[in-house]
């Protein structure tokens, strides 16, 4: 039975992988809280940290920045749909970080109602981002960057949304190597 399941799995997964590639889809990784935490790990001595929302996430070319400043590690800490107060505060309070911050901010980011909109990412990093998560994240990234079948924009949910809500079978091909699917970090839910 198990051998049969392995054969079926290889056939089905291989067919799907081949189909996605023929249709022009490429491997891509999930931009979730683990991706962000891995970037946060980079924020150490001499790092250039990019802080802000979707503007800094999408409009800054990390390869160009790395080419321009090869001696400085770059940490992309932008989070779509949020305002950057909490991450800025976290970096300011971190004695291990003495690099430069490039921040894309609006004045409203410092209003009390918005100041903590990135706090869940910061809390996750300090409370739950452990060795085991780092290993898992590394392995998932290695796999996902090689297999189109793991592209988050081709998940059952995303395909279903395309079909039911937009009336088409397939999503746009993602030109970036990072699929954007950021959501507020949660451990199930908050009790």
């Amino acid at each position: 039975m198990l051998i049969g399941a392995l054969v079926f799995f290889a056939l089905i997964a291989g067919t799907i992988e081949g189909s996605w590639r023929r249709l022009g889809y490429v491997p891509s990784i999930l931009d979730g809280v683990d991706r962000w935490s891995a970037e946060r790990d980079r924020a150490g001595p001499g790092t250039i940290a990019l802080v802000g929302s979707s503007r800094v996430l999408f409009n800054v070319s990390i390869p160009t920045l790395r080419r321009r400043y090869p001696e400085h590690p770059v940490a992309q800490l932008g989070i779509g749909g949020t305002l950057a107060g909490a991450v800025l505060r976290d970096l300011a309070e971190d004695p291990a970080f003495d690099g430069a911050v490039i921040a894309s901010m609006r004045a409203s980011a410092f209003e009390p109602a918005n100041l903590d909109s990135q706090q869940p990412w910061v809390d996750y990093y300090h409370e739950e981002w452990n060795v085991e998560r780092r290993i898992s994240r590394r392995l998932e990234t290695e796999l996902a960057s090689r297999l189109a079948i793991m592209n988050p924009t081709l998940s059952i949910r995303r395909l279903g949304v395309e079909r039911v809500e937009k009336g088409r079978w397939l999503p746009d091909r993602c030109s970036s190597s990072t699929a954007i699917a950021a959501s507020v970090p949660t451990s199930g839910f908050t009790a």
Binding site: M1, G32, V131, E140, I156, V164, E165, A181, G188, F189
Partner: protein, 475 residues
Amino acid sequence: MLFNSLSFAIFLAGVLVLHRLPLSWRVRKLNLLLASYVFYMAWNPPFVVLLWISTLTDWVIARRIAGEQRPRVRRYLLWASLGVNLGLLGFFKYAGFLLDGFVFLVQQAGIDYQPAAPGIILPLGISFYTFQTLSYTFDVYRGRSQPWGEFIDYALYVTFFPQLVAGPIVRSHEFLPQCEAPRRVTLDQWTWGLSLLTLGLFQKVVLADGLLAPVADGLFSGSGQPDFASAWLGTLAFSGQIFCDFSGYSSCAIGIACCLGFRLPENFRYPYAAIGFSDFWRRWHISLSSWLRDYLYIPLGGNRRGLHRAYANLMLTMLIGGLWHGASWTFVVWGGLHGLYLVAERFARAHAGHLAIWQSPPVRLAIGAATFAVVTGTWTFFRARDFPHAFDIASALIGAATAPDLILTHRGFDVVSVGIVMAGLLIAHARLRHHSLRDAIESAPWWIHSLWISLMWVAIFTAPGNDRAFIYFQF
């Protein structure tokens, strides 16, 4: 360590290989014990000390109780075990809750008291292993079992990694005898264990996290009051999510144990096909409800002291069961509501249980549907962030929303996906109500079984990892 992570897959592969090596049974048990500690320490290493304290306390106290004839001393020893275990649980899980209550009372007396937040981290699985070690001491105290002779076996019973952090809550008499002789794993056990592990991961990763959680989060993490349809959509989604999440974890735990040659008790028996609330609690989180029955409800007197006392005992048991789930009054209310349902059902049975009408299929179907609807609506108090939020959703569920401004039903895929998943879940529960899953699977040809497993692997593989822990980890 999460079952739905690649690091766990590597860890499990290593443990399975180690367990198959031609080593003595004692060394293999020691390997399992060490692996279980590694599994636990992967989350937060210092908290393993609490696990050791709980393990050693009940190991020592149970032996002292067994060797002691004086009832008063035996009772003191039992209280010592309760004090240590419930003290740790109380401090780490309920300190903030108790402090909030204290502050409220003090403020009612006109004193402006604002303490600093306690900032205590809840150790993973403490509610589960505390109940497990307590049941061992209780059983020895009552003479139901003798203290076990081998410490490694007992430590493995407390720490066995498949069920350590979210159950099932295993009784000593179910686990310890399995440690006596080497466990031989047949190909059938391997196949069944991996099938259960696959099913559990599919429930968790694909159904709970991939399809249902985004809809439930839309309702319970959103702001504003939902309309009738949105409230039911989100609550149904959470009803499915919590089942798939928790039952998925239990399936994984039972499946992994099976691959190691151990048998863990069933924790879910198609609860959404329950006919009545007592039936529901015989099918939902069975290891907790039977623990509460055996170590709380029956010692309180159960139904041996008259109907009214039985009602009071039921209510108390369910209130404590609610509080076990989380340090918040919303959980207490959730438990209290289930207590009221059980009392009402028992009252109805006592006064009208003899009527033949209860046995007619349409009436049983109607009771089953009503049970599911009420259980689903009651999850609102379990999931809502506070009472105003819970009341907003509860009033929308009965069509009494005053100014609804949270509409979820315009997201067509959410309606379709929740509809399909919940319909599939309910049909599966209804059809399997009187059967075992294993019988149903084994009656199918091998290639159907293989095809199902491979399709679930593909679905798991293609689901984006979205970093969600199992819901019951926080309990």
